[in-house]
Symmetry: C2
Subunit: 336 residues, 2 copies
């Protein structure tokens, strides 16, 4: 068997309690004793058993991350940020990826998996139902959402309305009036609220400028490149007029649209302006104008709040709106 705290204690001629104190750097241990214990622990290659310590303390030093995907831009980067905050503080990251938005599998998580395994939870861009939220909150562990608002739960996120407004106003400022919208709300029921916020802000901004929102220039996707490619059929191949600019709810969709436009012989920005949201890794290389946000930082900040809360700072977890930035590149220009 592995060497336990008792082995160390025996070898050092002290009690297990003393070893425990010494190893954890608690006070009330003489320097000499501490040194001896440390030396022996090291010599024996002692590694504490997390299970035992968890059982004794009730704390796991583990934070759960609940996300619909682990392999998409926003999620991967958020996870990386969360992980780095946790790593800095010696916490573990337990990942629960749903492998999609499917609702069926979720219930199991809220109860069996999340509970008693983690000290805190960060939820990435996932629309929680009231029931799910209830379940999670009843476990009374601190929670924080990243990437979008969750009613009744603190969130770290960008201001989607302001970001969308900035994007659309950029197009309008360039002189565009025929503006389409590739939104992300393909499945209202299961999907997140973010697409809706962006959609509404798009409409509001257009209205404010006295511009019409044309249904035939309004398509939905699921935030991926492929959805962008697909949307081109509606946006670019229609029988009537083409939009001169399209505001996309994500860079991935924007890039898909750009690829599709190229394939159709359309030049960007001469024939079509495209703007996205995110500042995806491919945005700068592709010259995509976008509203930049930083999910890595969002995850990092959210996790820091959680850790401070766990450390005893009541009220450390709060709503936090992080800045966005319009990055003008070569995919937008005045209409011809």
């Amino acid at each position: 068997m592995a060497v336990s705290i008792d082995d160390v204690a025996a070898r050092a001629n002290v009690s297990t309690a003393t070893v425990s104190r010494a190893l954890r750097g608690l006070p009330r241990v003489s320097p000499a004793t501490r040194a001896k214990v440390l030396a022996i622990a090291d010599e024996l290659g002692y590694v504490p058993s997390p299970s035992a310590s968890r059982l004794a303390t009730g704390r796991t030093r583990t934070v759960g991350v609940l996300a619909p995907f682990a392999d998409r831009w926003f999620f991967g980067h958020s996870i990386e940020g969360i992980d780095s905050a946790l790593r800095e503080n010696g916490f573990n990251l337990l990942l629960f990826s749903l492998g999609g938005y499917e609702r069926g599998r979720r219930h199991a998580y809220a109860e069996r998996m999340v509970r008693r395994q983690i000290d805190a939870l960060v939820v990435i861009s996932l629309p929680l139902t009231g029931e799910e939220l209830d379940q999670l909150q009843r476990t009374d562990i601190p929670m924080v959402a990243v990437g979008g608002p969750v009613p009744g739960c603190a969130a770290v996120r960008m201001d989607d309305v302001a970001g969308t407004t900035a994007a659309v106003e950029h197009l309008i400022g360039l002189g565009h009036t025929r503006i389409g919208h590739l939104h992300g709300a393909i499945r209202d029921d299961l999907n997140f609220v973010v697409p809706g916020l962006r959609y509404d802000a798009f409409e509001a901004t257009m209205a404010r400028a006295g511009l019409p929102v044309r249904p035939e220039w309004t398509v939905g996707g699921d935030f991926t490149v492929d959805d962008g490619v697909r949307a081109a059929v509606t946006l670019l191949d229609g029988p009537g007029e083409r939009p001169t600019a399209v505001f996309c709810a994500s860079d991935e969709m924007a890039l898909g649209l750009m690829f599709a436009a190229h394939r159709r012989g359309l030049r960007i920005p001469e024939d079509l302006s495209v703007i996205g949201i995110d500042d995806h890794d491919f945005a700068a290389p592709a010259g995509l104008t976008t509203i930049a946000q930083d999910p890595r930082r969002q995850g990092y900040l959210a996790t820091r709040m959680l850790l401070r809360e766990l450390a005893g700072t009541a009220g450390a977890v709060q709503d936090l709106v992080v800045p966005f930035e319009l990055k003008v590149r070569s995919s937008t220009a005045p209409p011809n």
Copy 2:
């Protein structure tokens, strides 16, 4: 406090042992008793304590994932595959992302973090030093590598040599003779062996065809789009002849190169053929010819092996070479 197994036992007028058996579906419990226990557990909202059960059994039902990044294509998809295999079997996924290849932080993991927290480990595309490998193997938990070979450790991966050969032969078959290589071996010491395998296979295939490998057409990157853009300076702006085709060690770099080529007014494939490896989500939309592999599946299969091993099938973890596929799209054509 939370309700414990004893509460359930007391309420059901049976022993804790019986509750434990009933709840875990073990034999030697009468149907009636089992039903009663289940009902009461449910009524009381009983959730077993993983810490306690881990301490008692020594098993954690958790698998660790060690990766240099969580936010890159290969890694995100691998993680998703690993996660889905784990989820199917009620296992947890503990993520250790190194946030880069930096070696400094690693040691801590091998010992303190990995040990005693997990039943098995999957390592994604990470070059382990002999010492690290030793440490990990001394913990005697089953391990498997995904995405590349690790000496002394079973691995699930594509055949990099065959894949590279297929890619380069595709270019040669089209009639190219001036072929460049954008490889991934920028930091030999810290980086993975995969770039080297691809590099050597590139050289060997060229040699076999009697074609020269020109140093000025051989650049290194770190697998990202930005590296592809950067490499264009060497590959496309040189004073001498330009290559007519470039084999890239990853699709991301290939795509970066394509963006850079477009910006320079070069047409693809007329002026330059580009081929990559991966079948990144952006490859099809961009029309990139590539050697397709499926990291999600690799992660899934690797994890299945691990779980079978944990379930008692000795020797379940073995080397596994997964197939690749040449997908010819519009980024490659005969040279002009």
